[in-house]
């Protein structure tokens, strides 16, 4: 069971996440979009969306800091465990609550604004459920473990396990003693990454950072074939 949960499942998730994105990018570039609903409603969106997105970006940075950077490195630059902990918990909790508040506003908007609700697909609903669950579990793990219980050092268990997966020397035993909320959070995150390539979340992978460096006006030569006619696969011209 431990091996299944903490070795097999992560690798399956990575495979689905990577291959899913490659497949989607090759065959569904047209569907690769944010599917923004701002046209329908922008008063609630203007509050909720930045709150959620900036919140989740900080949360992402926090996860990179907590999971990928080993505690040896932070020790080496002179950040003590306690200091790290205080920073992580404060920043994480604030960002987490911002994200959750933003998400709550967005979900409320999605349900109550008629056109937005009509434009919501089943796929979106599933994505919202998994995303909300993951964020809720993550936030409650942080709050429960650190504020109520007085601290849990995941950098000795969860983080090494996370890194061990990418070294291809997975160590599932590290996860056995971890508090249940952290375990559930990790599992729901795995589920989120599994559905990720098949939802609108793909827009994150094409965050337009290239805009900062490219020239303003893009010139492109006309496509080989004229009109909107696309040569079918396998029938390319030889010339």
């Amino acid at each position: 069971m431990t091996t299944l949960l903490w070795v097999a499942l992560p690798y399956v998730t990575i495979a689905v996440f990577v291959l899913g994105h490659i497949w989607r990018y090759r065959y569904d570039k047209f569907g690769w979009t944010t599917r923004s609903s701002q046209l329908y409603e922008s008063r609630l969106l203007r509050v909720g969306s930045p709150l959620f997105h900036f919140g989740i970006l900080v949360v992402l940075l926090g996860h990179i800091g907590g999971l990928i950077i080993p505690d040896r490195w932070t020790d080496a630059v002179g950040i003590s465990e306690h200091m790290y902990h205080v920073i992580a918990v404060t920043l994480g909790t604030i960002a987490g609550f911002c994200t959750l508040a933003g998400l709550a506003i967005l979900i409320y908007r999605r349900r109550t604004v008629g056109p937005v609700f009509s434009a919501t697909t089943r796929n979106d609903k599933l994505m919202y459920a998994v995303l909300t669950l993951t964020i809720l579990l993550g936030l409650s793990a942080t709050v429960a473990a650190n504020l109520v219980d007085g601290g849990y050092n995941y950098r000795e268990t969860v983080s090494p396990w996370f890194r061990s997966i990418f070294y291809f020397q997975p160590d599932p035993d590290l996860m056995t003693g971890v508090p249940i909320l952290f375990q559930l959070h990790a599992l729901s995150a795995l589920a989120l990454f599994c559905v990720w390539p098949f939802t609108r979340l793909v827009h994150m992978l094409t965050a337009p950072v290239g805009y900062l460096t490219r020239p303003y006006i893009v010139y492109r030569s006309r496509d080989e074939q004229l009109g909107m006619h696309r040569t079918p696969r396998g029938w390319e011209r030889i010339s």
């Binding site: 989607r24 065959y27 569904d28 570039k29 047209f30 569907g31 690769w32 979009t33 944010t34 599917r35 923004s36 609903s37 701002q38 046209l39 329908y40 409603e41 922008s42 969106l45 203007r46 969306s49 930045p50 959620f52 997105h53 900036f54 008629g114 056109p115 609700f117 009509s118 434009a119 697909t121 796929n123 979106d124 098949f198 939802t199 609108r200 827009h203 094409t206 337009p208 950072v209 290239g210 805009y211 900062l212 490219r214 303003y216 006006i217 893009v218 010139y219 492109r220 030569s221 006309r222 080989e224 074939q225 004229l226 009109g227 909107m228 006619h229 696309r230 040569t231 079918p232 696969r233």
Partner: protein
Amino acid sequence: MRVMAQMAMVMNLDKCIGCHTCSVTCKQAWTNRSGVEYVWFNNVETRPGQGYPRRYEDQERWRGGWTLNRRGRLALKGGGRLRKLLTIFANPKLPGIADYYEPWTYDYETLTNAPLQEHTPVARPKSLLSGKDMKISWSANWDDDLGGSTEHGDQDVVLARISDKVKLEFDQTFMFYLPRICEHCLNPSCAASCPSGAIYKRTEDGIVLVDQDRCRGWRMCVSGCPYKKMYFNHRTGKAEKCTFCFPRVEVGIPTVCSETCVGRLRYIGLVLYDADKVLEAASTPDDTGLYEAQREVFLDPNDPRVVAAAEREGIPGDWIEAAQRSPVYALINTYKVALPLHPEYRTMPMVWYIPPLSPVVDVVRDTGHDAESAGNLFAAIDALRIPIEYLAELFTAGDTAPVDAVLHRLAAMRAYMRDLNLGRDPDEAIPARVGMTGEAMYDMYRLLALAKYDERYVIPTAHAEQAHNLEELATDCALNYEGGPGMGGAGSGGGSGPFGEASGGANPIAVENFHMLRQRQTADHPADPADKRHRVNLLNWDGKGAPAGLFPARTKDDGPEGNPPADSGDAGTEPKP
């Protein structure tokens, strides 16, 4: 000198009768799909009026186009790259659907299935966004022919600018129509605003297009375009815009809006321009200098040095020849009667307009004077300051001198040609008063009044040695696109891909329209009925038998045996008339 070719258009506003045929045929050809119900690549606005979307010209609010920053350099009015990325999660300058209008249809089904009642049943308007009942309060041409202008005439942005001097003398401005398409600018701010780099200007013909595979729906182009000719398809989550009918233009036929124009007021042709001078021209310090600056960017296609430079840039010989015959170049630079729309947005627009003289003529005629006499018309142009200022706000950033000059030239042509048509000796003093020769005036008259199809539309075909694949040449099966029925795919035409309705490859619009039309003709519901695939097309029904789907499925409350009278026998298969 870096010579580039640009496909451009001129519209002669004197001839526009406001029939909206261009809008309707354009919509049938390009935006006849769900998700783009509110999208009008071509629309005709009544001036004075608010335009579409409402008050789009108010750039203090929408912040579209370019502006000069404190150092006098060209910058996006809506903010630079970093600002765009920081506001990407909620674009603060995006027009909402209310600024356009909420698209609707009518619940026609109640007309046929309402129970017997005292009053005639009514087909209620249903929102195409939420499917709910709605109250129609605006549309793409709600203020057509000045409708409702006593209520909201003061909402006209252009009028507001000139009425600082003249307090809303609404009836002193005259009414005319302004058809608008995408300007296919030389310096497109929509492309500059696109974070993904999906919007590009084609090097061959300058047409500005959106790559549907690269667009990620960040919506910055909608804010960036000062003409608000970028539209967001709310179904696919991608931006769409006027394509200058590129599949048609590539094979040498004019755009749908031009082809179907009743007044024959549109001219299409090539303009050669110096790409190296665009930025400098767009950075002209004075707004009123932009019209002249843009004209100087254009190159004279008859100049041997320009021809040599164009050949060096690889512009084909027949394109250079087409540029020499271009009616657009002639109207802009030879006769100088065409003016750009809102040059002050600094995007270097490439759809130009000949301002209307006919309202001036009408005013003169209404006063009982000779409306064909040059002297009377010149005097009227000089007297009618408010309409002229209005035109100047539209076409020359407020500088009335170029508008005056154009109207004088048109008035002179009118007077000069009357003498010719009546068999009198032409008065060469008339063209001389506007700095033209009689011969040039006659040529201009020919181009404005008589020009036939192949003179109005001088469109060289695209050079791709793949004639078989040209969209509008029916030598190939139209369904042979990737995943289409011709390739064994479903060709679901507006149906759902695996990840929601927008996913899967984009169907060619011609194919999608075909499916949409067919589905609409067989549908009873405002939006996608669940059982549409099982419906029967009555046009194909031979009147015999009742194929499955002819009648809606029976529900339980229909009672046993349903409603048909008892003597109808086997009602399920043999309906009696």
